[in-house]
């Protein structure tokens, strides 16, 4: 068995030298480092002290009166509502939609629930609710813009006017000026499917919105005549049928640019009234059904004006279906 030999006296090593040094023996840089080190220690002590004091206060409050811990949140009842919107809704509508309980404090508000209330009508696209301490609720809204009107009738009730936005959302609409709504064409050829508290979004409204926007920019006089926009053939034929004050049936296709189609329409209408204009064929082919019968045999037909910029002269084609190609 091994035996431990008693420790013989070990000679002193340089490691036994004490290394503490007084600040007076330090250089300026050394003293700077010392001050920094003391600052670090003091900072750490203060941090630990503050943390300990905070924990002590929380524990004391928990043991004596736990309600005090949530008291600061309850102590600021809601006093103000700041509404900011990019549309037509006003503060009154927001207050009604939110239905805030009287005397509720800022911290008691369930913001996600309130947000759902604002979004429920469909007119509000996004709603951001923010607590502004101590007592104000800020509401920032982004609204949908109506593209068309539509009449809906549920059961035997009176028909009511609804609005549809570019993204297909159908909503009742609040705060719009009647004269603005009167300029919107009616939508036809769609079926409203109830979903949730409202209706499922409609397909094809983005194309309709693009057509109307293009018309608003390029041919406002034509747009003023648009009465009904039908999406009955949208799913099957990818066309939008418009009934205007001048032409009972204008067929727009999705294949060509709407601006070009509107230019063709203007050109056709310059030649005289028509019952039907089909702009969906494509290219320069525009079947037109005139309002009055074809001219009598032997009478030379007058040349039609070419569409703007085409540089060609078109003549009515004597086909039996009373259609003219231009």
């Amino acid at each position: 068995m091994s035996q431990f030999i008693a420790n013989p006296s070990a000679p002193r090593s340089w490691r036994d030298l004490p290394q503490p040094v007084t600040p007076r023996a330090m250089s300026r840089e050394g003293r700077k480092r010392l001050v920094l080190a003391i600052g670090n220690v003091v900072g750490l002590v203060l941090l630990l002290g503050a943390t300990g004091w905070g924990l002590y206060e929380i524990r004391a409050a928990w043991e004596t009166n736990p309600a005090r811990l949530i008291a600061p949140a309850d102590s600021a009842p809601l006093r103000g509502l700041a509404v900011h919107t990019d549309g037509v809704l006003d503060r009154a509508w927001v207050e009604t939609a939110l239905a805030l309980p009287a005397g509720a404090s800022l911290m008691q508000l369930d913001l996600p629930q309130l947000q759902q209330r604002l979004l429920a009508g469909g007119q509000v696209r996004t709603a951001v609710l923010t607590r502004r301490y101590p007592d104000q609720l800020a509401v920032a809204l982004q609204e949908r813009s109506p593209v068309v009107r539509l009449l809906a009738q549920a059961g035997d009730g009176a028909p009511r006017t609804l609005l549809a936005a570019r993204d297909g959302v159908v909503y009742s609409g609040n705060g719009y000026a009647p004269e603005h709504l009167a300029t919107l064409p009616f939508l036809d050829g769609v079926r409203l499917v109830p979903a949730g508290g409202g209706f499922a979004p409609l397909a094809g409204l983005d194309a309709v919105a693009l057509l109307l926007d293009t018309a608003r920019d390029a041919a406002p006089e034509l747009l003023r005549g648009f009465r009904v926009v039908s999406l009955a053939r949208f799913a099957a034929d990818r066309v939008i049928v418009v009934q205007s004050a001048d032409v009972p049936e204008i067929v727009f296709g999705l294949r060509d640019d709407f601006a070009v189609q509107l230019a063709h329409l203007a050109s056709v209408l310059q030649r005289g009234p028509a019952k039907s204009v089909n702009l969906a064929v494509g290219g320069n082919q525009v079947p037109v059904v005139p309002e009055d019968p074809l001219p009598a045999a032997g009478r030379a037909p007058a040349p039609l004006a070419a569409p703007p910029g085409s540089g060609r002269v078109f003549f009515p084609s004597p086909n039996p279906s009373n259609q003219r190609d231009i």
């Binding site: 068995m1 091994s2 035996q3 431990f4 030999i5 420790n7 013989p8 006296s9 070990a10 000679p11 002193r12 090593s13 340089w14 036994d16 030298l17 290394q19 503490p20 040094v21 023996a25 330090m26 250089s27 840089e29 050394g30 003293r31 480092r33 010392l34 920094l36 080190a37 670090n40 220690v41 750490l44």
Partner: protein, 401 residues
């Protein structure tokens, strides 16, 4: 494992200059040199502090420069120790293997080592290094005797010791910067760690670190340092000899030594003369080149003779097959290797830093300070595995900031 990085400052307070390197130790395994600082030395004679404020100012200036170039603060310092007060002796301890089956245990090794290190020192002196030589188990050399079979285990240590006051002065210069000295490493060991390979140390090698005021030497054999020592002769003495011999001031003699000094006499034409300044201004004069070489060669031979004498019978050319490596700022004198080869009777060369050392640190004058980091890293990684930072270490670092 938590990544642990330390910034170690390697400091050499030399007679001519103070050199500082900052090494980034990661996990105590890898080393990156990230900062360098250098400052002309003041208040130091032959490696000993004689003017504390001046020495502190120069050292702290170099430390600040190194910290600035590294962009970080030093956590601790490895300090080089030199000076003629350093001495060494060899002491052995022997124990009989205690186990009945004669298997050497840890306790046997520990007892032998403690006995070998237990020799008392004269008053006022303290140990700088205990360098262990290979164990002997029943007379045969064994590097690691654990679990070997034998009856008598002997351990031997080369103990380097120095004057407590001189060592404390050196440490207090660093403490004045409010950084702790965690390793005190002999200059010769630091330079030797850089200039020799394990094979060199096994075969026998002598390393001479020729500084401005002192020459440190270490003689390796059987893989370990057998002898270390310091000779109070350095590059400054070459300059001084020239000044005395040619009646020049130190400022005049130093450039003359650097331009024309040699370790051996190479000029055959005794009439060849060289100009002191070469600008033909008032005071510029000519000296025989042969005389300059004679003076420096005589000093070189004398220096090597003194070292050889201090090595004593332990050094023989047959047991130094790896030859002599010269390093330090003074080793740049041409022909010094020839003089060393002639005196020691073995091949001699100007030591070269390992390939991984960057170009700006390959100068022989940087070998000691580089070796401090290298020696510190290897001794640390050999002693203690990388550990998680303890809370105590965190507080120590906080106070050391």
């Amino acid at each position: 494992m938590i990544s642990r990085t330390k910034f170690i400052g390697a400091v050499e307070i030399g007679t001519a200059k103070v050199s500082v390197l900052i090494g980034e130790f990661t996990q105590a395994r890898s080393l990156h040199i990230i900062g360098v600082g250098e400052c002309p030395s003041r208040g130091i004679i032959k490696g000993t502090v004689v003017d504390f404020p001046a020495a502190s100012e120069a050292t702290h200036k170099a430390l600040i420069e190194a910290e600035r170039s590294a962009g970080t603060r030093i956590d601790e310092v490895y300090l080089a120790q030199t000076g003629v007060h350093l001495e060494g002796f060899y002491n052995e301890g022997a124990v009989n293997v205690a186990a009945a089956d004669n298997l050497v245990s840890d306790l046997d090794i520990d007892n032998a080592c403690r006995l070998a290190k237990s020799k008392n020192l004269p008053a006022g002196r303290m140990v700088v290094h205990h360098i262990r030589r290979p164990f002997r188990l029943d007379g045969r050399l064994v590097p690691e005797p654990i679990h070997l079979v034998g009856q008598r285990l002997e351990a031997g240590y080369w103990t380097v010791h120095g004057l407590e006051t001189r060592i404390a002065d050196n440490i207090h210069v660093i403490r004045g910067f409010n950084v702790k000295v965690t390793e005190l490493i002999l200059s010769s060991l630091a330079a030797g760690a850089m200039m020799t390979t394990p094979e060199d140390r096994q075969n026998g090698a002598l390393v001479l670190d020729i500084g401005a005021g002192t020459t440190d030497f270490v003689y390796y054999r059987d893989g370990t340092a057998q002898l270390t020592g310091v000779v109070p002769v350095g590059g400054g003495h070459f300059t001084n000899d020239l000044g005395l011999g040619l009646r020049l001031t130190e400022a005049q003699a130093e450039p003359l030594k650097l331009r024309f000094g040699r370790g051996t006499v190479a000029v055959k034409d005794r009439s060849e003369k060289v100009w002191l300044n070469g600008d033909f201004a008032i005071g510029d004069r000519q000296f025989p080149r042969h005389t300059i070489e004679q003076i420096t060669a005589a000093r070189a031979t004398e220096l090597f003779e003194v070292v050889k004498k201090k090595l004593g019978p332990a050094f023989t050319p047959e047991r130094c097959t790896a030859g002599v490596s010269l390093t330090g700022g003074g080793a740049k004198l041409p022909g010094l290797d020839e003089a060393a080869a002639r005196v020691f009777g073995v091949p001699a060369r100007l030591g070269e830093a390992p390939g991984w050392v960057s170009e700006n640190l390959r100068d022989p004058g940087s070998s000691t300070v580089l070796g401090l980091l290298h020696y510190g890293l290897s001794s640390r990684s050999g002693q203690t595995p990388a550990r998680r930072a303890s809370p105590a270490a965190f507080f120590k670092k906080l106070f050391a900031a």
